[in-house]
């Protein structure tokens, strides 16, 4: 993030818009929205200096539910749009947000390259291990045996492990959160936004409609039993054997955020034509 010019005294509520969410009652995304608004209040930013960028999906509807600037783009491209925005407007606090389908399936390549590029922005994925918006198809994080119309008897595919991928591709901050703990999640988001470079938070956020069994996640989550590390190799080992329910900061690195170099020899536009002149 970029430091706010002046401290503000805004309440979380002031980051919540009057647009009524389309979400089902009980959807985990409601509390993620609350966590974001709490984090923004804690960060003492002003809504006009924050942009929330998303793709398509239930979770991707989140920008309009905040009072920040929002960008509800096309499916899978949130990180690309967020990257362009932040590079062009480094003064803004940029948060990309969306679902597991948006981020890990169609958006997988941008996820890889955003981690690698390490632009100073925060990516929040509301992972419900399903495509909610399109009414219940398996996503990359869906369990291999989850039965659905499109994949009767399950896909048979090993789950995609977002945290490991984030680490392997160079994310600078990696955390797991749970929608069952809005304050804890708000705190993780706050830390993530403050951490320079690309920060990634995977939030377990149940889809009560298509995966009602995920309601039990709240009983399965637990604080990560170890301190965050800044050693990727150690983090890799830890994450690869992780039970999927460790909550907390799991990796925090020191890579320098991407920032385009300012030219050593700035010019006026008209000067550029010198090289053409005969």
């Amino acid at each position: 993030m970029n430091a706010p010019a002046t401290a503000t005294n805004l309440k979380p509520q002031q980051f919540k818009s009057d647009v009524k969410p389309v979400w089902c009652p009980g959807c985990g995304d409601y509390t993620v929205l609350s966590s974001i608004t709490k984090a923004l209040a804690a960060l003492e930013v002003r809504p006009e200096n924050v942009a929330v960028v998303s793709g398509i999906g239930c979770s991707s509807r989140i920008p309009a539910y905040t009072t920040c600037y929002g960008f509800h783009g096309v499916h899978g491209r949130a990180l690309a749009a967020a990257t362009g925005l932040k590079v062009a407007r480094p003064d803004l606090t940029v948060i990309a947000a969306g679902g597991d389908g948006d981020g890990y399936s169609i958006g997988g390549n941008h996820f890889l390259h955003a981690c690698r590029r390490n632009v100073d922005l925060t990516y929040i994925v509301m992972d419900n291990r399903v495509y909610g918006m399109t009414k219940g198809q398996p996503s990359p994080t869906t369990e291999p045996d989850w039965d659905s119309k499109l994949s009767p008897h399950g896909t048979g595919l090993r789950e995609f492990h977002p945290l490991v991928i984030a680490l392997a591709s160079g994310a600078n901050f990696i955390a797991r959160a749970t929608s069952s703990d809005p304050n804890g999640t708000a705190d993780l988001i706050t830390q993530a936004v403050r951490h320079p470079g690309f920060s990634f938070i995977e939030v377990l956020s149940p889809c009560v409609t298509f995966r009602p069994e995920q309601r039990s996640w709240k009983d399965m989550v637990h604080p990560a039993p170890v301190e965050p590390t800044d050693d990727p190799a150690r983090a890799a080992r830890r994450l690869m054997t992780d039970d999927g329910f460790n909550i907390g900061v799991l990796f925090a690195g020191h890579r320098k955020p991407y920032r385009p170099e300012a030219s050593a020899s700035p010019k006026r536009v008209a000067e550029l034509e010198a090289e053409f002149v005969l």
Binding site: V19, R46, P47, E48, N49, A51, V52, V53, P63, A64, T67, C68, Y69, G70, F71, H72, G73, V74, G76, R77, A80, A81, A82, T83, G84, L85, K86, V87, A88, R89, D91, L92, N109, H110, L112, H113, P260, E261, A262, S263, S265, P266, K267, R268, V269, E271, L272, E273, F276, V277, L278
Partner: protein, 576 residues
């Protein structure tokens, strides 16, 4: 014994050879020398399938007036060696009065070149070069060509000096080799002397890709995200350092999906943004172009067209992306499509496109092509036009701000992140005036009308097309066919045939009134384009009620459209 040679207003020469022979270097120097001597010129290039080290040809036209087209035939083909040069035969048409120069030590010229009746002049390029320590055959060829067309020695010298800034022995050797080449030329006994150079004027030596890049920066572009692709890469490579110097940024994206979404993000942030690509990349940008339309985010996409479909022929030109540019988006998605009509015009058109995109808050596609993009030309310094980013921004704390307000023009002031009191969410879902998603028929209709209306809300002025000439016959064309058509008309005049030339710069939105006015009194029109399927013809029929009979003249790439074929067509058609 030198033939009495009439001074020519345009001479075309080509220099070919295997990889490493340095034909491009020599070609560039020849163009520079011609420019130094006060001529106009155009250089295109061709190379074999080899990634590097394959045969190559530098093809130049040098003239007393600006060259917006290649000529019909080459007066001189010189080859450092004959390797696989025969593969360029279709690109290097000769005629009986042409001259083929080759080094006899490299064998005889391929039959395909001689069957034109061209005269063969063996010149020992290599041996001549060898006599000069550090001398190279390509420099001898440079001198030879310069001599054949009568470029002043000082111009050749200046060109060599300019490109070998380090000077020293290498420079001296090159100058000597060039000198030797001039000497060889004198021995041949044929010359193609250029008429005296026209009065000096302020000129540039520039490629279409550079001109487009500079036009974009002039128009206000300060953010570029892109993915390399032939023949657009040089546009990006020119922009990368240039942008940095004016406080902008270029990001190499992971793919075209990323590049276009990045520029949407940046432009949403208030920074005029651009990407450049070619057909395959444009195909990948289609979805996000639609987002730009629906969410009303201005962006500029320069498509440097190459021969399609699919991967096609990456290094060759064609005008067959008109369809995708005009009609490629899903849903009804009105947007801008513009096309430059000369190398120099790549500047104005891209600058104008940026200006229009910003003014109308809509994506603009600029259809350049490989011919323009990679051709280097000596052109009149383009006029300074004042098109620059003119996005209507919403005021801080504007009361009841609605991002997609149904204004009379259809253009609604845009809130730029950072501005307090008017935050909103840009959306590709159909929405009401505030931007909140809506599936109501009334909202859909109102926003569709708004998005269509704004494209018709401004006066595009005289730039919508180039219109030249008078008469009952017209040729309607666009893009890189324009120069050849202009030249064909000039020749047809000598045959007593005259007519109007209409080259469209603004393809979308169509300008039916303007076109009708421009065609007033025209009985028959010939539609000239470089596409197999007749995309431009179909576009004209679909978008306009043309008040005259239409005839289509078209051919696909990869060969350029030459004045002669259009000239012949005009004669045949005008007399039919």
């Amino acid at each position: 014994m030198t033939q009495a040679a009439k001074a020519m207003t345009s001479v075309s020469v080509a220099l070919a050879g295997s990889g490493g022979a340095g034909v491009m270097t020599a070609g560039n120097m020849l163009l520079e020398a011609a420019a130094q001597a006060g001529y106009y010129g155009l250089m295109t290039r061709s190379s074999g399938p080899q990634i590097r080290g394959g045969e190559a040809a530098a093809m130049l036209r040098i003239a007393t007036t600006p060259c917006d087209s290649v000529d019909d035939r080459y007066q001189v083909l010189a080859a450092v060696d004959w390797g696989n040069v025969a593969r360029f035969a279709a690109e290097l048409p000769l005629e009986a009065s042409s001259l083929v120069v080759g080094d006899p030590a490299q064998g005889e010229p391929p039959e395909v070149f001689l069957k034109s009746g061209a005269r063969y002049a063996p010149v020992t390029l290599k041996a001549t070069a060898k006599k000069i320590p550090g001398g190279w055959p390509n420099m001898v060829a440079l001198g030879l060509l310069g001599g054949l067309i009568g470029l002043p020695a000082a111009a050749l010298r200046a060109a060599v000096e300019k490109s070998m800034k380090k000077g020293g022995d290498a420079l001296a050797a090159s100058l000597a080799a060039v000198q030797a080449g001039v000497g060889e030329a004198a021995k041949i006994g044929v010359r193609y002397p250029l008429a005296p150079a026209p009065a000096r004027s302020s000129r540039w030596l520039v490629t279409g890709n550079q001109a487009a890049g500079y036009g974009a920066i002039r128009g206000g572009v300060r953010f570029v995200a892109a993915y390399p692709i032939t023949p657009a890469t040089e546009l990006l490579e020119w922009m990368a350092p240039a942008l940095a110097q004016v406080g902008g940024t270029l990001v190499q994206a992971e793919d075209e999906l990323a590049s276009i979404n990045m520029i949407l993000g940046a432009s949403y942030g208030g920074v005029p943004s651009l990407t450049a690509t070619s057909g395959p990349g444009l195909s990948l940008m289609i979805e996000a172009l639609g987002l730009g339309v629906a969410a009303e985010i201005p962006i500029v996409v320069v498509d440097v067209m190459r021969t399609g479909p699919s991967t096609g022929i990456a290094t060759k030109t064609e005008q067959a992306d008109l369809n995708i540019a005009m009609y490629g988006l899903h849903g009804d998605a009105p947007h801008l499509v513009l096309a430059p009509n000369s190398v120099a015009d790549c500047l104005l058109t891209t600058q104008w496109a940026t200006h229009l995109a910003e003014t109308l808050q809509v994506p603009a596609i600029v259809l350049s092509d490989q011919f323009f993009g990679q051709a280097r030309a000596v052109v009149e310094r383009p006029a300074d036009v004042s098109f620059a980013g003119a996005r209507q921004r919403a005021e801080p704390d504007a009361a009841d701000y609605q991002r997609y307000a149904l204004t009379p023009t259809g253009v609604s002031p845009m809130a730029i992140p950072g501005t307090p009191g008017i935050t909103y969410t840009a959306d590709g879902l159909e929405h009401g005036e505030r931007g909140t998603p809506s599936s109501a028929a009334a909202d859909h209709l109102a926003q569709m009308e708004k998005r269509a209306r704004k494209l018709d809300s401004i006066d595009y002025g005289e730039h919508w097309a180039e219109i030249e000439g008078e008469g009952e016959l017209a040729v309607i064309t666009w893009g890189s066919c324009t120069g050849a058509v202009r030249e064909a008309f000039a020749r047809a005049k000598a045959d007593g045939v005259s007519g109007r030339l209409l080259s469209l710069r603004l393809m979308s939105p169509a300008q039916p009134q303007r076109l009708r006015r421009a065609l007033q009194g025209v009985k028959r029109a010939l539609v000239v384009e470089q596409s197999f399927g007749g995309q431009f013809m179909r576009y004209l029929r679909g978008e306009y009620d043309l008040p005259c009979e239409l005839t289509s003249f078209r051919k696909p790439g990869p060969l350029p459209v030459r004045p002669d074929e259009i000239h012949r067509k005009i004669l045949e058609w005008s007399r039919a």
